[in-house]
Amino acid sequence: MAGSVLEIKNLHVEIEGKEILKGVDLTIKGGEFHAIMGPNGTGKSTLASAIMGHPKYEVTEGSITLDGEDVLEMEVDERARAGLFLAMQYPSEITGVTTSDFLRSAINARREEGNEVPLMKFIKELDKDLNFLEIDQNMATRYLNEGFSGGEKKRNEILQLMQLKPEIAILDEIDSGLDIDALKVVSKGINKMRGENLGCLIITHYQRLLNYITPDYVHVMMQGRVVKSGGPELAKRLEAEGYDWVKDELGIEDETVEQNA
């Protein structure tokens, strides 16, 4: 079978006692590219974080499975080794750990002990991807994300995607803060990975990313649910008309999760 299947059913998620996701259903198969759009604060990053296992988010109902395996039972690192990857909206800075040491640890974590990636091979592959993403070589020896510009952090997330080759990748606003050239480069990286072995969930606010990476499906998230799904044309209409028509159509009054009383 080519590719993996990530299945999310009736997912409810709370953060610090406040329910953010209120029943999300979504299935991503290997080879499929899905885009999720939606107004600020409607739960897109919450969905991504819950899938990856962020410690602050609590799943109160529903299920997430990867090829039938219960993802919610897995620790964060097990989820990653099972094939999940999340390019984060706000990647952490890790002082004292170089990008290259970090990547090597991450790659070796996927391999048997005693079968670590040979250093020369690692360096060669890393150089290749650095070049492809037009990243300065010295980023490999800089501390991970420390002092990186917004755009550099995003490129670094895609570098990790290319190096780690996951089954299912979730990209949370990978386009935010990118200049036009960087947007092209990052898209090029993602498209290079595109194939029947990669399923992808792209969270974005803008059609411009989707001009470079055409999604197979587009979903709209509001009030902690996927309220509408369609093809690439849906994203274009949202870009042109905003979210009001969706709200009208569905009778939604407040676009964000209702504020705590």
Binding site: G53, V76, M88, I94, G96, V97, F102, S105
Partner: protein
């Protein structure tokens, strides 16, 4: 005449060791005078650590010879991990118990007048030179009871002297190996860099006694004359049976630099003070130190840079990782004296706690007697950031490995300062062993 003291060592004993070693009379006098002061002087008082019940006076002091090491190719096993077999330093002294087991120095350095030898050979061959600096400008005999005791009972150490205008690129390394588990170490290191000279010095303290108890009383003096540059690295790795007092002091004159990179990895109770006096204008010091505390170990690290000169620059950086029920206090004191205009003084102390039972404290202190200066400090005592862990683990890295990366990363700003690659590697190994 005998001195009234609880010590098992008296005047006759001092006379005898001094005579046996053929020491110059100035040293014999200094030793005897020091012994006389021991009782009346106060114990050192490290801020926030009580040492009243620590053993600093019960130990064995007899001269114990260590077996010579004939070839560096067959190093005793204990030492092997401290060296990269393919890359043995050219300038190396190994002190084993109270004697020198191995010593080499590059011929060119010798020709240029560089002295790199153990302290007793130095006392025989360069008595005047040693006398000029020994416990004069950096550490004083009567600083406290332990410095006096040190002077009275000094039983090992090294002397490094670099003449005017001689700039040495290759490092000078000394290993102090306490093989005898009960033997007390009263080690004295004296480093003198004459005008416009340059050197890199690295030392290791090694022992492997966890059962038997003894003490280490270490005094080190580092003198940088005008325009001299000294890079000083150390890895202290004495085992849990050793209670240590470590006093490292530097004096830097005009435009001189003393940079410290101290890996304070002892397993026993330790008080360590590292004070640098920037006497001259434009003098600079970076005092970097790391420590890992484990078990029930209690440690106190006080680093201080005292700035007299104009436009001097002092930067203290301390990093500590505490596990199990270790307790560690970091004091970082920047002091700018009256007249030290345009001086800059910065302190940063950070402690990372890996266990709920560990205790750590970071106290940066600024004492400024002058208006026209710049200064800053930062301190933190915290735990591993769960978001960093989440980020690392989200790439498939296990929890243990992620924590290891964070710990190494936390200590890296200091570890990376160590001037010799092999010693840096070795410090990383020691950290690895202490943390996991």
């Amino acid at each position: 005449m005998t001195v009234e003291t609880k010590l098992p060592y008296n005047n006759e004993y001092i006379e005898q060791i001094s005579t046996n070693r053929n020491e110059p009379s100035w040293l014999r006098t200094l030793r005897l005078e020091a012994l006389e002061q021991v009782e009346s002087l106060e114990m050192p008082k490290p801020d926030k650590t009580k040492i009243t019940r620590w053993n600093f006076t019960q130990f064995k002091h007899e001269f114990t010879e260590g077996e010579a090491i004939s070839s560096i190719k067959d190093l005793p096993e204990v030492l092997q991990e401290y060296f990269d077999q393919d890359n043995i330093p050219e300038n190396l002294i190994i002190q084993r118990n109270n004697s020198i087991a191995y010593a080499t120095i590059n011929d060119d350095l010798k020709k240029q007048g560089v002295i790199f030898t153990d302290i007793f050979t130095a006392l025989e061959e360069y008595s005047d030179l040693v006398e000029k600096y020994f416990m004069k400008d950096a550490v004083k005999v009567d600083q406290n009871r332990l410095t006096a005791l040190h002077a009275a009972l000094m039983n090992g150490g090294a002397f490094i002297y670099v003449p005017k205008n001689v700039q040495i690129e290759e490092p000078l390394q000394v290993v102090f190996w306490q093989e005898d588990a009960e033997l007390a170490l009263f080690n004295h290191v004296l480093v003198v860099a004459e005008e416009n000279s340059k050197l890199t010095f690295v030392e290791n303290y090694i022992s492997s006694n966890s059962e038997q108890e003894t003490i280490a009383n270490i005094v080190e003096e580092v003198i940088a004359m005008d325009n001299a540059k000294i890079s000083f690295g150390a890895v202290d790795n004495l085992s849990s049976g050793v209670t240590s007092y470590v006093n490292r002091r530097g004096v830097a004159y005009n435009n001189a630099t003393i940079d410290w990179a101290l890996g304070q990895m002892n397993d026993g109770n330790t008080i360590s003070e590292n004070i640098t006096y920037l006497m001259g204008n434009g003098a600079t010091s970076n005092a970097n130190a790391v420590s890992v505390g484990r078990g029930k170990q209690i440690q106190n690290f006080t680093a201080s840079i005292v700035q007299y000169g104009k436009a001097s620059d002092g930067f203290i950086l301390q990093r500590g990782v505490m596990k199990e029920s270790a307790t560690t206090i970091f004091n970082a004191i920047g002091k700018i004296e009256h007249g030290g205009t345009k001086a800059n003084s910065e302190q940063e102390s950070r402690v990372l706690m890996l266990s709920p039972d560990a205790r750590g404290d970071a106290n940066p202190i600024l004492l400024i007697e002058e208006d026209d200066v710049t200064a800053g400090h930062a301190a933190s005592v915290g735990r591993v950031d769960p978001l960093q862990m989440y980020y690392l683990m989200s790439r498939g890295i296990s929890k243990e490995e992620a924590e290891r990366l964070v710990v190494h990363g936390f200590l890296a700003p200091v570890v990376d300062q160590l001037p010799i690659e092999s010693v840096k590697k070795q410090l990383k190994q020691v950290i690895e062993r202490k943390v996991y």
